[in-house]
């Protein structure tokens, strides 16, 4: 169903030259019915987008409303510059590391005659199953690595799959005949790859790199455990120790600006990638590159990367789980179970909030694309652009000022989860609704079903499994959330993530290990889904955070 036609300017073109049936010569125009359903939907989408934008808007209002002197002081002091350099440096270093590691791995897996390719793909994707702070726990508990290099190693190893998987998918779709043509025109193998194949793969790889950069920017757990002074950690410190609201808010705005810029860049890159994909036709796979004497070094490199990225965290888990509690802090299985229950409940509530906000936006975007729908969808990306610590901080201030009853309640925490994971939920709703052909709805209408009945019997029935899976994915992701949870949770409440963080922070590694184990299991589910896609060849870069 398209928009109701506008009538302006059509008077002249309706031909009355054919004299029609008697009695209908001077027919009045047919008055359009007001589309109430769509108006309500659009209204709900605007409301949902406004709710999702609260953290960003409130933060900006807060900083704009503060004394200009205080803002300038916070912004211009040397410490802010130092933090900015730390964060930007880490983001750049990890992005570069992931690019090299990801593209290299993807090339080996897609283009060479490596044996046991599926096994290597699974191993390359599995680091996604380890939350960065669990990996950091592993490195901190087993090695003396700390500071910048510690954060660099942990974040690079955890995020490399974000580049490997989309690059692998793009390499499989790439038109390799172009590389063959380049070889026949006198290019060496590596030049041919750079000039013919790399341009086809670049958008996918760079979109992955930008997503990685975004995660590094938002990461709190790993940098905090590594004691590396990045923005996120400093915001947390400013909030907890001095409770200097203006300083924390100003730093949060700086971080938010960087996040928004990265998301905008990532969206642009993704659009470019889509254009590329449609251009390239499917071709039979050409012969893989023979590794020859490079086989052993290649295998050794893959094994080493898998070894450190999976082996260190899992090794520390095994070591501390087997040993029991040696530091005097006893963790009863019941404590872990209680925290797990809290975590599941909070995550489900958050997923529900995300779903409620996502439904009007996703349906509108799928069925009635318009500037309004696009605007609502963009507003939902706030959750992707804002680091969890920023959303948490903003909602702390917001609840204190606007609705004190909500401060440190489970409701505001569930709302924070809803905002943070809204992009995933919108994506799931939109894709599921788009998969229902509009023709099916037309047929249902002609068979006597009304608008509401058609949704209930056709659209919702077909879209439901996809939306449900998306909501489950949101819940699983929310279960790992750390920084916003730290700021917003009710005082006596702990989730798996906050307990792990608290215990690791005081070096109670053995006590922390069970939490790390449960969290790894939780994170493994979406990672395995993504891995399955990578093995079978389809791709879905957006998945984990």
């Amino acid at each position: 169903m398209r928009g109701s036609p506008t009538i302006g300017g059509r008077e002249g073109s309706a031909p009355s030259r054919r004299v029609g049936l008697a009695g209908l010569a001077a027919e009045p125009r047919i008055a359009p019915r007001p589309p109430w359903g769509r108006l309500i939907l659009a209204g709900s989408a605007v409301a949902a987008a406004a709710l999702a934008a609260i953290p960003l808007v409130y933060l900006v209002v807060r900083v704009a409303g503060a004394e200009s002197g205080a803002v300038a002081d916070a912004l211009l002091r040397a410490r802010t510059a130092e933090l900015a350099i730390n964060t930007v440096g880490l983001v750049l270093a990890v992005a570069a590391g992931c690019l090299v590691l990801g593209v290299g791995t993807a090339w080996l897996l897609a283009r060479t005659d490596l044996q046991a390719r599926r096994l290597w793909i699974v191993l390359a994707a599995l680091p996604l199953a380890i939350p960065s702070y669990v990996a950091a726990f592993g490195w901190v508990s087993l090695t003396p690595l700390r500071g910048f290099w510690g954060a660099f190693v942990v974040l690079t190893l955890c995020n490399a799959p974000m580049v490997t998987l989309p690059t692998l998918a793009a390499l499989r779709q790439a038109d390799l005949a172009q590389e063959d043509v380049a070889r026949t025109l006198g290019r060496s193998r590596s030049r041919a790859f750079l000039e013919a194949t790399w341009p086809q793969v670049r958008p996918a790889a760079l979109a992955g790199v930008l997503l990685t950069a975004l995660y590094v920017l938002s990461d709190f757990g790993a940098v905090a455990l590594m004691r590396f002074e990045a923005f996120t950690w400093a915001i947390h410190a400013a909030y907890t120790s001095s409770f200097d609201p203006t300083l924390a808010a100003v730093m949060a705005v700086v971080l938010a600006v960087m996040g928004v810029a990265l998301v905008a860049a990532e969206r642009t890159m993704r659009g470019r990638q889509a254009r590329f994909g449609s251009m390239v036709a499917a071709r039979p796979a050409s012969a893989p590159v023979r590794l020859g004497r490079w086989r052993m070094p290649a295998l050794a490199a893959l094994l080493a990367v898998a070894g450190v990225s999976l082996g260190v965290p899992l090794g520390s888990l095994l070591r501390y789980l087997g040993r029991g509690s040696g530091e005097g802090i006893a963790v009863a299985p019941l404590d872990v179970a209680a925290d797990a229950l809290t975590t599941v409940g909070l995550a489900l509530a958050g997923a529900l909030v995300a779903l409620l906000l996502a439904l009007p936006i996703g349906i509108l975007a799928a069925r009635w694309p318009s500037r309004l729908a696009a605007g609502a969808e963009s507003a939902s990306y706030v959750g992707l652009a804002l680091p969890g610590i920023v959303v948490g901080l903003s909602l702390v201030y917001f609840s204190l000022q606007a609705v004190p009853a909500l401060y440190q309640s489970v409701w505001i925490l569930a709302f924070a989860y809803g905002v943070l994971f809204l992009p995933k939920a919108v994506g799931a709703v939109r894709a599921s609704i788009e998969r229902v052909e509009p023709g099916l709805e037309d047929v249902a209408r002609t068979l006597g079903e009304g608008v509401a009945g058609t949704w209930a019997r056709v659209t919702a029935r077909i879209a439901w499994p996809g939306i449900g899976a998306g909501v489950l994915l949101v819940a699983l992701t929310a279960m790992k959330e750390l920084p916003a949870t730290l700021l917003l949770r009710p005082t006596s409440t702990d989730t798996l993530a906050t307990s792990l963080w608290r215990l690791t922070d005081i070096s109670a590694y053995a006590a922390a290990a069970p939490y790390a184990l449960v969290l790894t299991v939780v994170a493994a589910v979406p990672a395995l889904l993504l891995t399955r896609d990578a093995v079978t060849g389809s791709t879905r870069a957006e998945g984990l955070q």
């Binding site: 009355s16 047919i30 002609t446």
Partner: protein
């Protein structure tokens, strides 16, 4: 079943006009085809009739009941008009029986009606299959059964056979035609395929650019097209320029007998466009033609190329004074070889159309 009237329907998408006042009537129990090139507005017309798109002006009347009109806009679910879409659009989450029963009142969905309809389209044994497990032809028959199950006043078929491969198409067409006849359903078929329209329909409505070009029986349309464009659009046609002289036209075929098309006028000496069906050209031996002059004049032509189809053949002829070759369709057994000379005559009077001033050059 009932009569459908489409009265001066004007419709637009956003602000792009699509239909400019289309009127026709489909008699009760008959099958009408709306034929037009893509972009002619035929799908919009179908959506307007179904109530899925609101017209700006005009009326849709089914058996005296106004469905769309001044201050009237009956919702699609209350129109009693069934739809068989191009891709069948079976509900993927329901099995075949539940698909067919979709439009029945809740208490009848478990009843025998769905099975009756499946028997009617000859698919009883597939009632428990899911749509994904059906072939293309089976899907269309299920879609037809689904549309007919609630006993609608009429059904709309939106290019229902274009997605099928050619070998299957004829068979499914015949089955659908048979079911519609047996249930005496008023039906409107939208298609861009002339063969489909001519072979299936009782009435053909030709639409071009949102305007009705002609409304008549298939034979009317083929034998008495209202314009040279229509003649070319429906079936093969050789069009030539010539000079009109009281019932004859001087052209590349010689001086041939001709009739003016419906509503056409021409005075002696004016340029006209004539249309000749390829099967109306007669080829003959050059020597024989010289001794026995035939009606409709005889000219000589070179055979450029012969396309042999078994039951007949298409011969491409170079006529003196023409750059492009013309086609003649001859029965199998006619002996013609490329690069030989044949005589060309005309079996029936050609149809002549006045050439619009702007095109005269």
């Amino acid at each position: 079943m009932s009569e459908l009237q489409v009265r001066k329907v004007v419709a637009a998408y956003d602000s792009t006009p699509v239909l400019h006042g289309v009127s026709f009537t489909v008699a009760s129990g008959t099958l009408a085809a709306v034929l037009g090139p893509s972009g002619s507005g035929k799908s919009t017309l179908l959506r307007v009739i179904a109530g899925l798109h609101r017209p700006l002006e005009g009326a849709i009347v089914s058996d005296g009941r106004v469905l769309s009109g001044p201050r009237v806009d009956v919702a699609p679910q209350h129109r009693r008009i069934g739809l068989v879409p191009q891709d069948a659009a079976l509900f993927p989450h329901l099995d075949v029986r539940a698909n067919v029963a979709f439009g029945l009142p809740r208490q009848e969905r478990g009843g025998a009606r769905a099975d009756e309809m499946l028997a009617l389209v000859g698919l009883s044994e597939l009632a428990d299959r899911m749509p994904g497990e059906l072939s293309g032809g089976q899907r269309h028959r299920v879609a037809l059964a689904r549309a007919l199950a609630p006993q609608p006043d009429m059904v709309l078929l939106d290019e229902p056979f274009s997605a099928l491969d050619a070998s299957l198409r004829g068979e499914v067409r015949a089955q659908v035609r048979q079911v519609l006849r047996r249930t005496r359903t008023t039906a409107l078929l939208v298609t861009h395929d002339q063969d489909e329209a001519l072979s299936m329909a009782d009435q053909v409505v030709v639409l071009a650019d949102g305007r009705l070009e002609q409304d008549g029986s298939p034979a009317d349309l083929y034998e008495r097209p209202r314009s040279a464009w229509l003649a070319r659009f429906v079936g093969g046609a050789v069009t030539l320029r010539g000079t009109w002289r009281a019932g004859t036209v001087e052209c590349a075929l010689g001086t041939v007998p001709a009739e003016l098309g419906i509503g056409q006028t021409a005075s002696d000496g004016t340029t006209v466009e004539i249309v000749v069906r390829p099967e109306h050209l007669v080829l003959g031996d050059v020597a024989e033609a010289a001794s026995r002059p035939a009606p409709g004049g005889r000219v000589r032509a070179m055979v450029r190329h012969v396309q042999y189809f078994g039951h007949d053949a298409v011969v491409w002829l170079d006529l003196p004074g023409l750059e492009e070759p013309v086609q003649a369709r001859v029965l199998a057994g006619t002996r013609v070889w490329p690069d030989t000379e044949v005589s060309v005559g005309l079996q029936r009077p050609a149809l002549a159309f006045a050439v619009p001033d702007s095109a005269r050059g």
